[in-house]
Each structure stands twice: as C-alpha cells, then as structure tokens.
Symmetry: C2
Subunit: 100 residues, 2 copies
DNA sequence: CGGCCATGCTTGCAAAATGCAAGTAGCCCG
DNA sequence: CGGGCTACTTGCATTTTGCAAGCATGGCCG
C-alpha cells in the first residue's frame, strides 16, 4: 500500500479533510463544526471518532456537557497538504471548451 | 464553498487521487491503471470520465482499440498536494497507546 | 474472410457509505 | 422538577462502491 493510499485511508473519507481544515483555526466544539460545515450530525460523530482513533485529533472536556476537538501534532501536520489542495481548488476548474 | 471543498468535489471521490498519482509517472492505459491500482473496472471508467470532464486528464488514442490517459496542466498541478499527502501518510499513523 | 484474442469498457445486482429526521442523555438554571 | 442547551444515537431512504459477467471493436492468423 502506497503512502498516498495510507493517507487516504485516514483522511480520504467524506468530510474528514474539511473537519481537519476547520480545526486548523483552533479547537472547535461539535455544534460549531456542524453548523460551519453543514455536515450531517451522524457523519460528524463517525468522523470525529475515526480521526480520534487515528491520532489526528483529541477530545478536550470543557464545562459540564461541552467539549472541544483539537488537532494533535499529527493532525497539524496535515496543514501543508490541505493548503496545497486548497490552492489547487482556488483556480477555476472548467471543462474543456465546446468548440469543435 | 471553500477552495478545499471545491478541490474535494473533483478529486475527493474514492480512487480519484490514486489515479492522478499513477498518471504523474506519465500516460497510462486503462488496463495498466486497473492492474496497478486494483480499482474495480466500473469505478475506473466512472472516475476517468469525471476527471476528463473536470479537465484533469485527457484521452489520447493509440493503436487500434487502445488509448492512453494523460494529465493536463491542471492535473499536473496536483503533484504538490499529492506529494504532501503522501509524505504525511509515510509517517506511522498509530492509535494512541492503550495505557491508562 | 472467419474465428479468435486483446483491450476497453458496460451492465446487473449486492454491499457499504452517506444523508435526513427524529429521538436520547446528561447537565445546569430557574 | 421542568425546560433548554449540548452532544450525540438510531431508523431508514438514497447514493456510492464493489464484484462478476457480458458486450463491442479492431487486428491478427489461418
């Protein structure tokens, strides 16, 4: 299995990179992630569990029934890849011209 | 929609980045991609169609009933992001220790 | 010129992932 | 003790993915 395939095994699932991207701005709470990203709540819960298990992020307990999700060093190391992908997406991606 | 989301809309689907990665080594034929990546043939056909429509790659007719798939400039521009993700995946990704 | 093979797909259907909506659980505040 | 806030879980429909088998086209070999 290539390194790329190994990476995609962890952060290749839908929403995973978007969640990490959001956390690059600092720890966020569940509801914030949900509202900012528009991700379905069950998917968010599943991804957070997977990313925590993969050592990408950790849960920080806050007051009573709230907690924050924060990137680990390994999660922060994704910044370079996320920035590169974001820059790529910034350029208009258009289909070829329709001329004959 | 963020730039990252736009990028993932194009290359976020399963196998897409692996296909592009393989094509970074130069144009490849359908059967080569299929055997090298182990991707199901219907998925490969679907992804190649999508990536062609997105302007990431083009079809080059070869002898009789064979053709090659080659990256466009836009496809080649993914190299940086793919390398970054690959480097990230290279480091052992382990779950947290089981100690209490 | 006719059968046969290689190559590049398409198709039918099962399994898994994703999404929507509603419900559950713990805690604090009044 | 009731209501609201937060973080989820659950049930089920929809979409995506995967497997296996089949189809199409062009060249080659007899």
């Amino acid at each position: 299995m290539s390194d790329l395939a190994a990476a995609l095994d962890i952060v290749g699932a839908r929403w995973a990179l978007l969640i990490v991207d959001r956390l690059l701005d600092g720890p966020q709470r569940y509801g914030d992630l949900q509202r900012d990203l528009g991700v379905p709540t069950n998917m968010l819960a599943t991804r957070l569990r997977e990313l925590e298990a993969a050592g990408v992020l950790v849960r920080l307990p806050l007051r009573h029934n709230t907690r924050a999700y924060a990137l680990t060093d390994r999660g922060l190391a994704l910044r370079e890849a996320i920035v590169a992908l974001g820059n790529w997406g910034k350029n208009d991606a258009q289909e070829p011209s329709l001329e004959s």
